[in-house]
């Protein structure tokens, strides 16, 4: 089971990301555990577990939302439409499956 984390913030993220996370949970039910972290502000990262922060250290993050698959940043900044972003996530999952 993969771990997919969406990091969003009320200050500048995607206001519909919660609904997108719901969609991803349904669509990836048997392949990934989808979690969404909503920051109260762009400066307050207390909602992000320290273990995840440690994983993200050194990785490039350019904006919100951040999509993290198994500890690796898949994308940061505005997502494309839901279909395209889902295909991006699915391709990443399949890519990992093939290499493991």
């Amino acid at each position: 089971m993969h771990e997919l984390i969406l990091i969003n913030a009320r200050c500048g993220g995607d206001p519909e990301l919660g609904r997108y996370a719901e969609f991803l949970r349904r669509k990836l039910a048997d392949r990934a555990q989808v979690e969404m972290l909503e920051l109260e502000s762009c400066e307050d990262i207390s909602a992000v577990p320290s273990s995840l922060i440690a994983q993200l250290m050194g990785q490039t993050i350019t904006g919100l939302p951040v999509v993290v698959l198994d500890g690796k940043v898949l994308s940061s900044g505005p997502l494309p439409n839901w279909m395209d972003s889902f295909e991006m996530i699915r391709a990443a999952i399949e890519s990992q499956v093939r290499t493991t």
């Binding site: 519909e16 609904r19 997108y20 719901e22 969609f23 494309p80 439409n81 839901w82 279909m83 395209d84």
Partner: protein, 426 residues
């Protein structure tokens, strides 16, 4: 010099394949389904405005030189065409910057008093809501809201219950910009006329698509925009029944409205006021400042184009496409279509939502994956979508709209795209 640019060959009946050549924006694979927000512009309209800018650029009226005389002739000709298009006399229309401005001008000009009542519907565009609400707040009038329900189906009996001896004006849309539902304007006009109530029609979504004769209709005021009917942006029209044009004090005044050739009888400059004003003859009385000359000439060319095609042909074509799309979308699981099922009550608009998917996301998918332009959101219909008394419990929807240049093939591609999106999320 070609002043009245000829209507292009393609516009000689509703031969979509031919007339699409008149619209440079359509020379791509993109499908434009947002014409009720703003229609595309044919070459002849741009050429007509170019002729003004390149060949006889001058102000109208009171000019004694060739370019000004030519500009005046072309402006007056455009005014007559536009007035004729809605069955009005040229003295009964004033050019504004858009329909919103036109409605505001009407609201500013009407002597509504404390305790008077204004009737609106919950399906109004903000532009036919905010000016009246503001007016009511300013003078202490009361706004009464008629709710035609989620599909906008107008019940004349229910509407009549809102009318009383204090009702001063009824301001309603002709065609809903959200749902495409057509209001029974003739019947509403009869009700208002019988009781001496003024009737303002927001015709922004009707004039581009339907044959309208304001004298037969019997409304007191009608507003519409040029840019939704093949014309340029920056021009709208307010029709005022002649008696109102003659008797009301314009809510916006200035150069052009006041006759400066009549001797002023003010006893002193401190006493200057409306009692001493002599207004110009109609329609100049209402045309404050330099009018939108190029835009008026462009709108005149747009009227030429629509008349060459045939407004009834346009109406039948766009309603047919909308009815087809609405029917097909209703058959797709997960899609909820808003608006009437009765084709007679339908215009060129199809609004819908896909369960659990925000309308903006559907619009993004249609744009990015299928190259289809639609509009999403609340469509400026705040009282329909928003607030404690919202008519529907969704914050907005996806709206596709059709015009004379849209083809059945485009409608099919749109249905297919929505079907694919719905299947993906199903």
């Amino acid at each position: 010099m070609t002043v009245n640019a000829p209507v292009h060959d393609g516009a000689s009946r509703l031969d979509t394949a031919r007339l699409r050549k008149d619209f440079p924006c359509l020379q791509t694979d993109y499908i434009y389904l947002d014409s009720v927000a703003s229609s595309l512009t044919p070459v002849s309209v741009v050429e007509a405005m170019n002729a003004y800018y390149f060949s006889y650029r001058a102000n109208v009226h009171r000019g004694s030189y060739d370019a000004s005389l030519m500009a005046t002739d072309q402006y007056e000709a455009a005014l007559a065409k536009v007035a004729g298009f809605i069955g009005a006399d040229p003295e009964e229309i004033v050019f504004t910057s858009n329909a919103t401005h036109a409605i505001n001008l009407a609201a500013l000009s009407l002597p509504i008093k404390t305790g008077d009542e204004i009737v609106l519907s919950t399906l109004e565009h903000t532009s036919n809501m905010a000016p009246w609400v503001l007016k009511a707040l300013e003078v202490g009038a009361v706004v009464r809201w008629y709710n035609p329900g989620a599909e906008g189906l107008f019940d004349l009996d229910e509407f009549s219950k809102l009318i009383n001896e204090r009702t001063r004006i009824v301001a309603l849309t002709y065609v809903s910009n959200v749902l495409g539902t057509v209001y029974p304007v003739e019947s509403i006009a009869d009700i208002c006329a019988d009781r001496g109530i003024l009737y303002m029609v927001d015709g922004a979504q009707a004039v581009p698509h339907r044959r309208i004769d304001v004298h037969s209709l019997g409304c007191d005021f009608l507003a519409f925009s040029g840019h939704k009917m093949l014309g340029p942006t920056g021009i709208g029209v307010l029709y005022l029944k002649r008696q109102h044009a003659e008797n009301l004090m314009p809510g916006i005044v200035g150069g052009g409205t006041i006759n400066t050739e009549v001797e002023c009888s003010c006893p002193s400059i401190d006493a200057c006021g409306p009692n001493y004003v002599t207004f110009n003859a109609l329609p100049d009385k209402w045309q404050a400042g330099t009018p939108p000359i190029a835009e008026a000439i462009g709108l005149g060319a747009a009227v030429d184009y629509l008349q060459a095609v045939g407004i009834d042909e346009v109406h039948n074509h766009t309603r047919s496409l909308a009815a087809y799309v609405a029917g097909e979308l209703r058959a797709i699981p997960g899609i909820e279509v808003y608006g009437p099922r009765d084709v007679e009550l339908l215009s060129s608009i199809v609004s819908f939502n896909l369960a659990d998917v925000p309308p903006d996301e559907v619009g993004k998918m249609l744009n990015e994956r299928y190259h289809i332009a639609v509009r999403t959101g609340a469509h400026c219909a705040l009282s329909y979508f928003m607030g404690a008394d919202a008519v529907v419990d969704v914050p907005g929807n996806v709206r596709a709209s059709f015009y004379l240049y849209n083809t059945p093939e485009e409608a099919q591609r749109f249905v297919s795209a929505v079907g694919e999106i719905a299947a993906f999320f199903g």
